[in-house]
Symmetry: D2
């Protein structure tokens, strides 16, 4: 059966945005969406020009998200879903606006900056039952899903240690003072929230580790640094982890690490084996079972799990990358949305989609990390 | 200025095709095309179903390419370009049909199977001046373009040795006898032409080496094998290379090499330095200058050439892959097509697009390789 | 000038020992020592047989170290130095015996298990001025010395973060209960001291980080685990680090990590660049300067520091390994011993030799780690 | 049982030699030899000084090899074996001198420069039955032996393709004109023989491929180059290979390839799997079986073959290197020599030692390569 393309709206993501373009490429790749409406910028002229460049019709080009939510909700050809790709501080209000108008949301991470807003959104979602997806895009990589499948199948035995790190180099100098837009809002507590590197990438690391292991982080002992003089948020964070059930771990995130472009890496160590995945080489997953040679699993090879095989487009040896993983989130979200339109139950892959629970846990994570740091690295529980 | 999306037609690429889907994802990624017409299969029912699945309107769903070429040429909203993604033996006739109706072509490689057809197409293109692109997609990788820019800038000095290889494993067993469609036509001389691995992937290797070095292959001394019993075309080929100007080299292509998923690799050795690029890790280019440490160049890093910086979408450390490189061919082709519509000269990046000359040289390459093999690896010149 | 071979004695290292054989190969490689005396085992018959196998004369084969120290000190051809390669708990007494007889010592790490013994040895060394070398063998790798030279020269700028890890897999199961001698004493608090993985390999990691950065560790916040049921010492440890001067870091050591054979790795991140060294590929050092491509420095290449060039034997591309690095400690110790015999000042390379200060700091490290762990990961200062 | 150390003599290897020092370290490492006699240089004063530096007694310091062979043969404590480490042109005469005096020989490769000399030595060895070892040292690496064991056990199935390469960079410029002694004799036909890169390193590549696969090379089609102006021997060679039994392959050796320090690499492709070994990372062997993930075999891991386990000293994860592999040749030679002294049959490991047959085949290889090149890359058989 051929399903119609879903009508997509977008808030944020106008000219100069990084993540807006990523969301659009991700939505296009597998051809399940068509972008028809947008409030792409808080600057009206930029919003208009950006919409025109994206072939959005003038009557669906909006100056603000409230107008858009109301107007779209009133149309017979209303958008099926809206993508929210603004800075962190505005996520909660925008999501709230669309959800209250009955429009499902795909929201960029992190969910929001305040726990009370996160809980309020969670309540709203529970009441409305609307689809809500948080783009923790690294969970869209097929070998991340393979890692999860193998851990949950018990191939590594009982998990003992989780080592996750996410070093970047791009904020090694104070480029926020040079007019670099991405750097400016990410180092501004008013827009980014209380976490700097912790909020921007530490949350990815935390979520990825939980996704792959199925474990819930219980408490952290954290040490934060702001290495670049004058910066107002942490730019490097190191922490000890305690998971429910007894697993232990460490997390390092940094935005001041020269030589690390986007070095997200997850290692999971169990009593029977270990896994190692590196975002820079996403088509490979190293699996070591105790007493056996390291095995190099690759995207597209035979005998991968259904969840990994599902999340790929082309044969092994033809590298897929970041955009394909991001597209997988959109593609699985499309299945979720169609299921709802058709009133059928969501499939297994939709169940893997990150959502409100990931958002809640990450806001709690940021809060616990900062509280621990202020308490001289005292063990601090995540309060969801 | 916002340009309208180009109207794309497609011949071949119906259900079950690998490369057809790749072309469509490539065309979609950067949002410069919209697929509006197709003759997607020689089987009418499959053609119809495939078109419907791709949201092509029934009145632009065609049963054969001749009808399509004529009908589209007659429409005011005719397609701007057609993609030809059928098996090799039909490329020449299909390209001929569209070009004679004045419709530009994006053709999958290799150009065709017979030198006389290749020359005939070249003549037609020269007469008509129509845009024609051959999807040697590996030239779309930014670090392949970086390699070319550095070689042509003289950074490696005089090129001495070219080492290029393209091993795959997928035909290590006789899967063409199991109903695998891709394997069946690629091992059938009637559809694939006289070269097996030589035609399918040896041509990519030959073209890539020429693209990066700017050198023309003068002659080959080749040894072909058909290792899988009963197979009718070569499945492994090894050859010595002599380039115009004195460079020497080797080329290995294989489709029977377990452990090699899609192992295209190019090494270029000059008197001042060498380069190494591996398709499986396409975001990296290793550069060694004599007496200096090996440097690891990465997509998106500062100080890359304009041609490499142009051919990327997202920041360094966020891997791009095969589909993005393929999309770059489509994106540069779009620029070429727009330039023509607007009557402006083609830009520098369009000049990098592989086209009829690459096609001609590759047909000559296949012919020379086979002739050399039949002459017991005697040195044999490429006759274009 | 040709110098005579130094006369070497050994305590411990009889049949079944791992590290004894390593010390002997290390002493032989560069031909500066000849093994002439030994008390190789506390079991007299094993001591005798081991000595015979090593061509040690019967009259210099001793049943215990006290007898050996006294007898050797009385000979005109007395040993120039003794190597102490017994389990940790006996180091202090053995070192004390030889030093009080005026015989220099090369002692396996860690120095000893109790701080009071460490201080007592330090006092004795200060009084006697005798050479004393602690075999932190990883400092013998040329690229470790290169790393140190570059950090101290300021190439990385101000050090911000130190990431050091040392995972192993060999104790992932309770092999200490199977008669494995190495595992038995290393998991026995009476012989190994209070630290398990912390003492055995965490000390290497701590010392290596200090050697390369020149920084002194100020305090730790540590979380220890004993994952294998019934084990009496930690087998996995994770900790946050604070260095004097403001650098921060993390240290992970584990002996229960499947897939990690001997995974010592050090990354040093400064505000101008970073370094990455992995013991499993010891001939390579990755150097990333901000805004420049990663460079791959290799043993034997031009333009390395004098300290790195000094510490190698054969050309680049011919891998050296663990034994060569260990031999470098012996070779630099030989220079120190000859300097003393000839009454000349020690050279620059001898100054790099790990010694009593490294020993003291590592005993303090173990004590601080354990104290921090007991205090729920509270920040705990190293008290030397 | 403790065996006495073997008495070793050496011809060549005085001050300034590279390979002489390597042989001595190799002989020392496992403590089976003691160097007692030498004719270390054709320059008498250098011979004397070199001997003194090596603690060789004056009465066993010889000015020439003839005198040495006669004098040693007449001593009751005569040397058990002599190492020949001179330039290639003198190997035959020196070996002949010692063998005719009944003294076994360890000879550096290649055996000699003329086939008639090689055959004459082979005859002499057959008549005398004396031990003779050729130091194709790369066969001493444990994972090379593992590769051989797996190929011979049929794990890869029928071998289809052999890809072997040995690129180096050190002769990329005409350093033979700068007084560099190693470069001078290796580029001098009078001392090196008719092959340049072919003789120096191509022979290693040819021998290694034969060792691992057990296949005999039948014929070659070769293209040689002398890229550095004024050089008198080839510095880069590329060739197609045909093995007895139907396997095919390619060999590249180069001494003008910037970025390649000592890049010996062997890939063996069979119908069931493939192997990949790289000398720069000698502790790793990659094994890919058709349809299974790549496996990373490492030195010292469980389940390696007896021949690989025998050829290592320290646990996995503690890298061994070039000197250890070279030492393995000496250690296996010691077993061979002791067996002879004790009149017991040689063990399995001694059977792996490269010897006169390897020498003969390599002289034939050089001759065939050069003949093929002169005949415009015509297929040319090896004539042993």
């Amino acid at each position: 059966m051929t399903r119609r393309r879903l009508r997509l709206g977008m808030v944020g993501g106008g000219a100069g945005s990084f993540i807006g373009g990523v969301h659009r490429m991700a939505a296009r790749l597998d051809d399940h969406y068509t972008l028809v409406a947008g409030a792409l910028s808080s600057d009206p002229e930029r919003a208009r020009q950006s919409a025109e460049a994206l072939h959005i019709e003038p009557d669906r080009t909006y100056a603000d998200y409230d107008t858009m939510a109301a107007a779209e909700a009133a149309r017979p050809d209303r958008i099926d879903v809206v993508s929210v790709v603004t800075p962190n501080d505005s996520h909660a209000a925008i999501c709230h606006a669309f959800l209250t108008h009955g429009i499902p949301v795909i929201c960029d991470k992190p969910l929001c900056t305040l726990m009370q807003d996160a809980r309020s959104l969670a309540d709203l979602l529970q009441r409305t039952g609307l689809p809500f997806v948080l783009t923790h895009n690294y969970t869209g990589y097929p070998l991340v899903r393979e890692a999860r499948a193998r851990v949950l199948a018990g191939e590594l035995g009982t998990i003992r240690v989780v080592q996750v790190e996410y070093p970047q180099e791009w904020l090694a100098e104070a480029i926020e003072n040079t007019g670099q837009k991405q750097a400016a809002w990410r180092t501004d507590p008013a827009r980014s929230g209380p976490g700097g590197s912790v909020g921007d990438i530490g949350t990815h690391a935390h979520q990825l580790a939980g996704f792959v292991t199925g474990l819930r982080l219980e408490s952290v002992a954290a040490d934060l640094s702001t290495f670049v003089p004058g910066r107002r948020l942490d730019d490097d964070a190191r922490m000890l982890l305690r998971y429910e059930g007894g697993a232990r771990g460490m997390l390092w995130c940094s935005q001041v690490a020269p030589g690390f472009e986007n070095g997200l890496r997850l290692r999971v160590i169990g009593d029977k084996g270990s896994l190692d995945w590196l975002q820079a080489e996403p088509n490979v997953l190293h699996l070591a079972l105790l007493g056996q040679p390291m095995r190099r699993l690759t995207r597209g090879m035979p005998d991968l799990s259904a969840s990994a095989s599902h999340a790929t487009r082309i044969p092994s040896g033809h590298p897929e990358g970041y955009l394909e993983a991001f597209a997988q989130i959109y593609t699985d979200a499309a299945a979720l949305l169609w299921n709802r339109l058709e009133n059928t139950p969501a499939g297994a892959d939709a169940m893997l989609l990150p959502g409100i629970q990931d958002g809640l846990r990450n806001v709690a994570f940021i809060d616990a990390v900062i509280a621990s740091h202020k308490a001289d690295a005292a063990w601090t529980r995540l309060e969801v």
